[in-house]
Subunit: 685 residues, 2 copies
């Protein structure tokens, strides 16, 4: 049966132009061509195979990752790949590695926070990988609260050096990727002490290992922090621990950026440290030991965070779409129950319970794709404005990006696990690809801003606005909107929910606004606003989620107002947009009902409409996941393979497990035979 497409009948059912949808998903014809070429290049090169990953021991896995990273670099050089293509290649190699941090954190930090001189010295070395860098910020005792970092950098004017030191156990650097075994250099963050005075946390370029024999330099205790979640996943990465014992570095290795702003251009894989980078200072220390606050506006430091977080939102749609692609294809292959007169059983994708769990995730993948595109635009716009000294849109851009990072990563991690469950028992096998996808993805909920902490930033911003500005004006506005919503002419009905996105959008707007106003009202009951924020923080988080969901829905609707070529493409996206919005409305109907944005009758109608939308998606489901254009290599899943030939592949794969190398298992003579022969009391165990 090799070569037969077991999903051909599904593909024949689709009602739209899949090739046109591939362009929409990729973002542009150019982006599609690059992705398509590079993903096929990686898939066809046995040097990048990954199907054996789950059975390797930690040391074998790590060594294999070192090999792949070197091989990828060789490929990039041999084929003269552009920066864009090189980044895509690393993406499709699809394995966490020290290179992610080198390209995604180390180089950008030097570009963003280094002086011209520092950039000229260090960047060429880094670009050629003559040095390999990591980003040493988080400590054993400190993640989210960067201001609490304990590592010290004390200026010694006599030698014109900084003394980097770890004064406590909890000040040990902990988590940085690439630090454990590979990196030769680090950007290390430490509390600057000049003339006995603490001057906040700053970044320092510190050499870690000899460039000759790779041994750690004097004063460094460095190693790997040990195993992490999942079989392969981040165990391919040497997340590290590092203690400094009075390590001296020249003064010119403190990042002292003071000139104009050019730092926000980073490669697309800037995402791999655990926990956020907030409130780092960029300042200067003179050789006389004078501390000068940088003239780089504080706001600019936010720019780097914006960049990284918007790439995380873009990645969310990739990860979720992978899981959805696997679960959708397997749901069309798998049959269970419903056989009539000995005929084939029912495809599980035809069950409404399966559809009601799977199709909202399919819709979410598309929704996150489009909100990611918008965030990319927003980032470019903010960058332009910053260069013209216009900081006006930065706070809102920061709040949106933080909120959407939190919303999309949480939904994606949960969605991957839901897709795994939708594949039944076989989803629990590593060969399904889903355990690995989950374990690799889920730290995104924690790194670059823990998701709940981020939502509190959204609410801080949006509710402080409500509290201070809107509380008088806003409540009135809100009230008028409230009334208008109940105009009989605007009342929802099944028809309006189907035909009028404006009615849906209004419901989401009203819900977000009213939850925010309710929070503001509750806050006003507290004499001390700080205490109020602390006490009501769980409610504020819910209001922030409502705000972020409104953003995703509204950007999806905006996307549909653009011209979208290709037969039936826009119609499919309309259906997915409605599913996304109505699914959220159903899931959070408590919010909508309690704030009076909809009535129970509307909720019931929305639910009926949702079922009818699922029926519209059904014939197009396989084509909608084909539009992601993922190779079987990238998917890394037998259950999700393009041709749907699942069972023979599962069966073959099983025999490759190391346990099957011998028919009688190692341990039989010592531990099984004594049981069977009743010789356990005298056995050596």
């Amino acid at each position: 049966m090799e070569g037969v497409d077991h999903l051909a009948h599904e593909r024949n059912k689709s009602e739209f132009d899949v090739d046109a949808m591939k362009i929409v998903w990729a973002g542009s014809p150019h982006a599609f061509v690059v992705s398509d070429r590079i993903s096929k290049l990686v898939a066809s090169d046995p040097g990048f195979r990954k199907d054996n990953r789950s059975t390797l021991s930690r040391k074998e896995l790590f060594k294999n990752t070192l090999r792949k990273a070197a091989y990828a670099w060789k490929t990039i050089i041999d084929l003269h790949l552009s920066e864009e293509e090189a980044a895509k290649l690393r993406f499709y190699v699809d394995e966490p590695a020290f290179t992610d941090v080198h390209w995604g954190m180390f180089i950008p930090a030097i570009k963003g926070q280094g002086t011209e001189e520092q950039q000229q010295k260090w960047l060429p070395l880094a670009y050629k990988m003559q040095i390999i860098g990591c980003y040493a910020q988080t400590e054993l005792g400190h993640g989210s609260n960067v201001q609490g970092l304990e590592t010290t950098a004390t200026f010694d004017p006599q030698t014109d050096e900084f003394i980097i030191h770890s004064p406590t156990l909890t000040s040990s650097k902990w988590w940085p990727g690439g630090l454990g075994k590979v990196a030769t250099h680090a950007i290390a963050y430490a509390l600057l002490i000049v003339g006995g005075r603490e001057q906040g946390v700053h970044g320092f370029i510190v050499q870690l290992r000899s460039l000759e024999d790779h041994s750690p330099l004097p004063g460094m205790t460095v190693g790997d922090i040990g195993m992490k979640f999942g079989n392969g996943a981040y165990n391919a990465m040497d997340n590290g621990v590092l203690r400094f014992d009075h390590v001296r570095i020249p003064r010119n290795q403190m990042l002292m950026r003071c000139a104009q702003y050019t730092c926000l251009c980073m490669p697309s894989d800037a995402k791999l440290i655990l926990e956020p980078c907030i409130l780092i200072r960029v300042s200067q220390v003179t050789c006389e030991g004078k501390y000068k606050q940088s003239d780089v506006p504080r706001q600019l430091v936010y720019g780097a965070m914006l960049y990284v977080r918007q790439t995380i939102v873009a990645d969310a749609s990739c990860a979720l779409s992978r899981a959805v692609c696997i679960a959708t294809r397997y749901s069309a292959v798998r049959r269970q129950f419903g056989s009539q007169n000995g005929g084939p059983e029912t495809q599980v994708i035809d069950y409404k319970t399966q559809q009601s769990r799977l199709f909202p995730l399919l819709a979410s993948a598309y929704a996150f794709r489009f909100v990611g595109e918008w965030l990319k635009w927003l980032y470019a716009d903010v960058t332009q404005r910053l260069q013209a000294n216009d900081f006006s849109t930065l706070p809102e851009a920061h709040a949106c990006t933080a909120g959407l990072k939190s919303l999309t990563t949480t939904a994606t991690a949960d969605g991957i696990e839901e897709c795994r469950k939708l594949c039944g028992g076989h989803g629990y096998l590593c060969s399904s690809g889903l355990p690995e996808l989950f374990a690799v993805y889920v730290p995104a909920c924690t790194y670059e801003g823990e998701n709940t902490v981020l939502l509190l930033q959204v609410r801080d911003m949006s509710c402080k606005v409500s509290h201070e500005d809107c509380f008088s004006a806003g409540v009135q506005q809100e009230t008028s909107r409230y009334n208008s919503l109940y105009d009989s002419s605007r009342a929802f009905n099944a028809m309006s929910l189907r035909c009028s996105k404006s009615a849906l959008l209004e419901a989401f707007e009203a819900r977000a606004a009213r939850m925010c106003v309710a929070c503001a009202q509750n806050l006003s009951n507290f004499d001390n606003p700080e205490e109020g924020f602390a006490e009501l923080s769980a409610d504020l988080v819910e209001a922030a989620v409502a705000h972020c969901q409104l953003l995703v829905v509204s950007k999806f609707i905006e996307k549909l107002q653009q011209e979208i070529p290709g037969k039936g493409v826009k119609q499919q996206l309309e259906v997915l947009c409605n599913i996304y919005a109505l699914f959220l409305l159903h899931k959070h109907q408590g919010d909508f009902l309690s704030t009076g944005c909809i009535t129970p009758k509307h909720a019931a109608l929305a639910n009926d409409e949702l079922r009818s939308l699922y029926s519209q998606v059904r014939p197009n489901a396989i084509a909608l996941v084909d539009a992601f254009n993922y190779t079987d290599h990238y998917l890394g899943s037998i259950l999700g393979c393009y041709d749907g030939n699942v069972y023979p592949k599962l069966y073959e794969a099983a025999w490759k497990d190391p346990l099957n190398e011998s028919v009688v298992p190692d341990g039989y003579h010592q531990y099984i035979r004594p049981l069977l022969k009743q010789e356990i009391r005298t056995a050596r165990l």
Copy 2:
């Protein structure tokens, strides 16, 4: 700082008798004593250490599991442990192994479905482990739908044998634990064919491997199905694949139970096959090739499912409480933000966002414990009735057990992952114990009845009742209840929510009933009821969840009506009961609002009350998890260790990773140095 209790100040805050709570948690003084003794015995024996589990390769892990299983058996024999104690010992060894299936599925199947003669022959061998059994039911192509199994057992009257055969690839047995490498025998399920007629799926005792050299017998192709989710987890188990090529077994190895009913007593670890056992027949074939339907009532087969599922509910509270214990202790140790004047930062357990995620899970652990106790009682009651030929309570018991299995396992799997996230970045380390706990636990959502399929069984039962019986009478009843709820005297207010559990319970009852009635009404719009059930199945699942949550809330309230000794113990449980109910009310407020069971005002008041309850739990949180009485060995988590001395232990553990065996990693010369030295183009990769 060795020996210092870093959580002593937390323990001193508690307002209740922890030792008395330990008895409540254990279920009885006797249960506490046994658990306490055996868990300490396991914890103190280095033969059972498990801290090295995550770094072992598959083969090492498996061999180590074989050793532990043999060592556990030796311990059981040497110490003359009772059956109860032996089961506890296997529980506290805390590693999936072939013994789980031998004791939990193989032996019970023979007891339940075997004739007297079969029991006399096989049970003594199994009890002494002279044979090791597995339970071979699921196939590559069939899990939930047992009636669709493809393996055949054809009776050959000439030799008085059955011929067991796998006619297709998808008929390969797939998943059975212990099958891959260890078991000498299997209960294999196959479609019985007698005289050319198919007679449904039956069980057969099949020898798999030689008792002399462990090699597979002729006609058997058997092996391991490969790696599964997680580092250790079920990779310690040899879930297997098996193809039969016309394997002949004597006629007396078909399970042919026909006598009176005695099968429902099983050991407590009967839980470890993937996917459910439904609709297996127990019949007889005579030597002349005559098929006789068994006189064992079909209902009795349900009894075995009831048993296994009620143990799964009991296990849910164990797994969830472990995760909650870890997250609660670490939340009291971990400090982040909020330092004032250089003082210590705030314990993260003091943040309301942390409390609003953690404390409902703490309450859920207790709630599941008590509903598990009730199910155990229910099971015993049903068993007694069955022995007296009273089948009247079986359908409801079956629906309750199925629904609660689904509800508690889903909530527990999600809860473990939430606890992991509540531990921030460090929760992602294997040394936190949470990745392993999740990966070991999560298959419970799929095995022994996939959770969504189970909820459809609940709705089938409850809604068919609604549809047929209640639809006339029921709606009226419902309406009267509806009206009474709105009696001003019964209206909810903050006071009644706090003081009157009956008001809360009524809200849960009304919600469950009205959702069910709404489904019934919607079903009546379909001409064909089958089609209606299929189309509305997602709604029916939601109604089933509402029904199951009502059960958990009502059983918690019933528990509180009992006498509970110990200073402050009952008060703590009252608080937890209210948290559990109000948390659900908040989470599902859409249901409560749309069915008119509460008003938006009530929802807001419930939310305020919830915050105040969190404040009441806070000082008792550590003591409430101490009451689970888990040893550090069983918890298997540095973050959750009893003394709270987290950071030094994390730091020490890191150095034990195999990657730290050498300072310069294996692979440096081949793959890192060529990068740094710009020699990649000529490197051999």
